[in-house]
Point group: C2
Chain length 227, copies 2
DNA sequence: TGATATATCTCGAGT
DNA sequence: ACTCGAGGTATATCA
């Protein structure tokens, strides 16, 4: 990893064109060859960048002025990030080695696990038929039966948006062509459901259920509640 | 901007939980108080971060060992990024000042502007009714009339994918419920149209038009072409 | 402030 | 190589 703080001008041409006028910024060159340019705000997003795989070519500046070099970062798609250096304030390098990587908890897969364990939160007397119930166009998150024994397809999202409703609609359309399954209704379950998604679901006769991750995780054996 | 290269362990708890085992990484502290942790790969995305507005509290390590400090970065929502330092290899600071900011060209908004100015590229004798034509589920990018006076809804994307076709389909379904507008047909216009999107559009009777940004920008007053 | 749409989205998994 | 889905998406715009 090489860290350069320098006055620079940056031009990107590729999927779009973007231009950064001359100013002092941080330039990050990583071991995989990628380059990013950061201002002194926003944690997440660089002002400009080139993702790996890409190649950095340094063209020495003409004459004696400090900086002056032009860095050209190019990738296979023909995109180019061109950095023109004017004054270099800092230039340090350090070998970091590979990173052991990130461990996450609380993503959609966990919601599915938890809800599979507690389908009764969707309705009294409901039972789980199976997780990842296969269809021709992909697996339904949960297939359940309600207290009356009717089939219910459940689509789970962390954030429920319109796309998720469309997805469940496609499943339901397909599943309802199978007379053996009988009529299949739908439940759209998410930690957060956008108004648009709610509206579309209502229009399609799909029930929306808001999930609480901590509640689901905290559900105790109901027998314990007798005491 | 403060740049620290250090062996560190990182834990995030907030919208989910995430953990990074002890390893050498770059820690970026920006002037707005935001903090990000980078490995030696991937230009764009930090391993972990806290977006502004947030507060950095440094708790001195116990005893004499180098590093040892614990950094706690918290925001108003109660999310916390906790960085435990073990060995500090580099620690430099530099004042960057505000950035003049990025100038972009070629995004969807520009395509919409240009196409609104040149609806005749969609068909001889076409006219623009209005941009951002409102419907109950959101605005249609362009509403036009063809040479025969029939309504046409135009959805514009930089990259045309299946979602865009679904979106236009929803608009068309809604618009065609309004007998005053008469039958409304659809045009899906994009710089690049994925085969899947093209197929779905054909299935729905939606015409696909591939846009060329440079062509659109370069269209001159037709009268000039007489000379 | 909340909702909505865009993004050089990025990134990973699966085909 | 391409597609699809998820993301602590982030970010800007608009009500």
């Amino acid at each position: 990893m090489r860290l350069v703080i320098a006055k620079c001008q940056v031009d990107y041409s590729g999927r779009l064109s973007a231009h950064l006028p001359m100013a002092t910024r941080l330039i990050l060159v990583k071991a995989d060859g990628s380059v990013s340019v950061h201002a002194d705000d926003r944690a997440y997003k660089p002002l400009n960048w080139m993702s790996p795989p890409c190649t950095l070519l340094i063209e020495p500046g003409t004459g004696a002025e400090a900086g002056g070099d032009v860095w050209r970062v190019v990738n296979k798609a023909g995109e180019e990030l061109r950095i023109t250096l004017a004054e270099v304030h800092t230039d340090v390098s350090h070998e970091l080695g590979p990173d052991p990587g990130l461990v996450k908890d609380g993503v959609e897969a966990h919601l599915q696990e938890l809800l599979a364990l507690h389908v009764q939160t969707l309705g009294e007397g409901w039972t789980l038929v199976r997780r990842e119930f296969p269809t021709a166009i992909g697996p339904v998150d949960l297939m359940c039966r309600d207290a009356a024994g009717a089939s219910v397809a459940v689509e789970i999202k962390r954030r429920g948006e319109i796309d998720g409703v469309e997805q469940l609609t496609r499943y339901l359309e397909l599943l309802n062509r199978d007379p053996l399954l009988g009529p299949v209704s739908g439940v759209f379950a998410a930690q957060e459901i956008k108004p648009q998604a709610r509206t579309l679901a209502a229009d399609r006769g799909i029930r929306c259920v808001q999930l609480d991750y901590d509640d689901l995780r905290g559900i105790e054996d109901p027998r314990l509640k007798l005491f």
